[in-house]
Amino acid sequence: MNAAVLIKNLDYAYPDGTKALNDVNLKVAEGEKIAIIGANGAGKSTLLLHLNGILQGDGVVEVLGTPVVDNHFREIRQRVGIVFQDPDDQLFMTTVAQDVAFGPTNQGLPTAEIAERVHDALTAVGMNGHGHRTAHHLSFGQKKRVATATVLSMQPDVLVLDEPSSNLDPRARRHLMEILQSLHVTTIVVTHDLPYAYELCDRAVIMSDGKIVADGPIGKILSDEELLLTNGLELPHGFFPVVGGKKERR
């Protein structure tokens, strides 16, 4: 199968000289759901911003065979949808519908198709009928779902989520999980919410100090207590992933 995302020897340093990514190599297959886990400051979010060219480091980043470089940005940003951590950053238009239409409008789609995409995306996140509302009047969980819809409306091939579960109460968390599980696209989740990653993903990579230090089936990674601890991670008390038992458990 073709690689949805291919990253080779990626280095990145912030303008002030701080090294954020150090020789990152990652291959994500089409349709795979993968978690990038790691402590704060490990470089997860920096890596994520390389997937659509917001940041550009030294090395190779390819999405479905297309290199992420200047003259491909338009296409790349259509294919890679990033849902950012704070929905207030992602919902900047006057109404929910306008926010969801923002991406398709930039793609230059005809009006009728935009309307259809908005409808479909809002339906997918269970927010149909809220199109006329202002983001300000939504609950945090609803904002998060609409933020997801703003990306789904672009029908991306790769869905990237930055800390999808942060600040969500248990019900909203569950609801978002069900939505994410129902989507059949390549999904990359950046998080340190390990149970969330475990439930959604089949594979996990651990990042630490700008490097990928572990890569494998998520059950195996999360069972390695020592590996987690050395990389600033810890399973919540009383949570035990079942190695290889994930599929049967569902």
Partner: protein, 254 residues
């Protein structure tokens, strides 16, 4: 927070013929009424009565509760109090001045007061009618329909969207700040306010950058297409023409 909510209503208030008019028609009407009124000489009292009647008719059409309109009109009181009320005493008393118990009241001053008050009232009432019968989203799309450059409407809509987010952020910072200062009762000292405002600015700036990244990620490249076009119907045409006719007649004869 609730203060911001009060001034920036985003849901329309009630429903009526006026609510259903094309936002472009309402924007043009409620903008030209105060402009025409401002250009009317203060001495043509009857012209202002006529403007008042137009506003009353619009209010009637809009079915807005009068108490609600009255409460919202209180916005102008501070301005009138602070500026206009003293005008009758400050101007040089002309030949037509009055003398009440030794206090001289100038005619020009009184005229200026009347002029300021009546025009401010007309302006405020027009804005209230527009804002209460039109949602903010409609106003923005109406402005776009009127060919206002996209940059301006985008700034307006961002301002509207982030006024809430930023004011809440500021409230949170202020609360955290107060909690560490045993609750400052008197007016904040400049040396405390400074850092608070400074970090608020930085946070807002960061927010702006993150929003821009989110926009770029969804294919924004500096320009945006205008949203769906408006269609004006008979009611819109009738309203607009009536308004134009009345304003023209009043202004010419004033």
């Amino acid at each position: 927070m609730s203060g911001t909510h009060h001034f920036l209503t985003d849901e329309r208030y009630g429903g009526s013929v006026l609510h259903d008019l094309d936002p472009r028609v309402k924007i043009i009407s409620m903008l030209s009424l105060p402009i025409v009124a401002v250009s009317t000489p203060a001495k043509s009292v009857w012209a202002f009565v006529a403007y008042g009647l137009i506003l009353a008719a619009c209010l009637g059409l809009s079915r807005l509760p009068l108490g609600y309109v009255a409460r919202r009109s209180l916005v102008i009181v501070p301005f009138v109090l602070a500026v206009a009320v003293f005008l009758p005493f400050f101007h040089d008393a002309g030949p037509g001045g009055y003398n009440i118990g030794g206090v001289r009241i100038s005619e020009t001053g009184t005229l200026v007061l009347w002029n300021t008050m009546v025009k401010a009232t007309i302006g405020v009432l027009s804005v209230i009618i527009l804002a209460s019968t039109t949602s903010f989203a409609e106003i923005i799309s109406g402005l776009e329909g009127l060919r206002v450059p996209r940059v301006f409407t985008l700034i307006l809509s961002f301002m509207y969207r982030y006024a809430f987010v930023l004011s809440e952020e500021f409230q949170r910072m202020r609360r955290a700040f107060m909690s560490r200062n045993g609750g400052v009762r008197n007016l904040w000292h400049a040396d405390m306010l400074g850092p608070l405002l400074g970090s608020f600015f930085l946070r807002s700036y960061d927010r702006g950058e993150r929003v821009h990244v989110a926009m770029t990620s969804r294919g924004y490249s500096g320009s945006m297409k205008v949203s769906a076009p408006h269609t004006a119907d008979t009611a819109d045409a009738v309203f607009l023409l009536t308004m134009a006719f009345l304003l023209l007649m009043i202004r010419i004869s004033a």
